[in-house]
Amino acid sequence: MIRVQQDDFDPGAEIARIAAGNTRVGGVASFVGLVRDMAGESSISAMTLEHYPGMTEKALAAIEREARERWPLEDCLILHRYGRLLPGDRIVLVVTASAHREAAFDACRFLMDWLKTKAPFWKLEETAAGARWVAAEARDDEAAARWVRE
């Protein structure tokens, strides 16, 4: 399942929901991404996430399909916020449920890595020196490249 929304979310409720009533689930892995107060040397006062409505949902759905093809998941959730967020605010949640922990961990990390390089989100950081668009990081491309199959 995918969700793109401006509102905050409740990781505990999502984690509980994904395993509720399904006793084939042995492990639920999850990741919550939060707005940090620092980017390099700069202090961040706020961050605005711009996205491409329509394409975002398509891209996330494609990433979810890919994960479900690669791992035996009982269920999976990608939830991403957009709009203006403050340090400490939640940005993204990925939850994966599987019979075994290896699949849950691998799929969760895969989803985060691919999300970072394939979902059409752009970050505008507000600092004392003004607002600036965050540049793409080679590190994220490398993390995503780990999952490319020959």
């Binding site: 991404g33 491409y52 398509k58 970072k116 390089t117 059409p120 752009w122 970050k123 540049a135």
Partner: protein, 85 residues
Amino acid sequence: MRLLYFAWVRTRIGLAEEEVSPPSHVTTLGELVAWLGTRGPGHAAAFANHSALRFAVNQEYVGLDGKISPGDEIAVFPPVTGGRT
């Protein structure tokens, strides 16, 4: 043909979207971007460096050699930034 701009492409051009009718010899994204660059100084600045841009045609990533048609929704934006986490 509907064009959408995001992030600094949007702020540099000063438009989030626009409707354009390029001449009929413009059939690829690369040709479209070259043509768009002539529409004004904001466009010229935004489209100066192709390698800093990514494109989607009808919400799918496409390279500069991708074909375009009059009814397409075409988006131009920087590489996505899942960010620093």
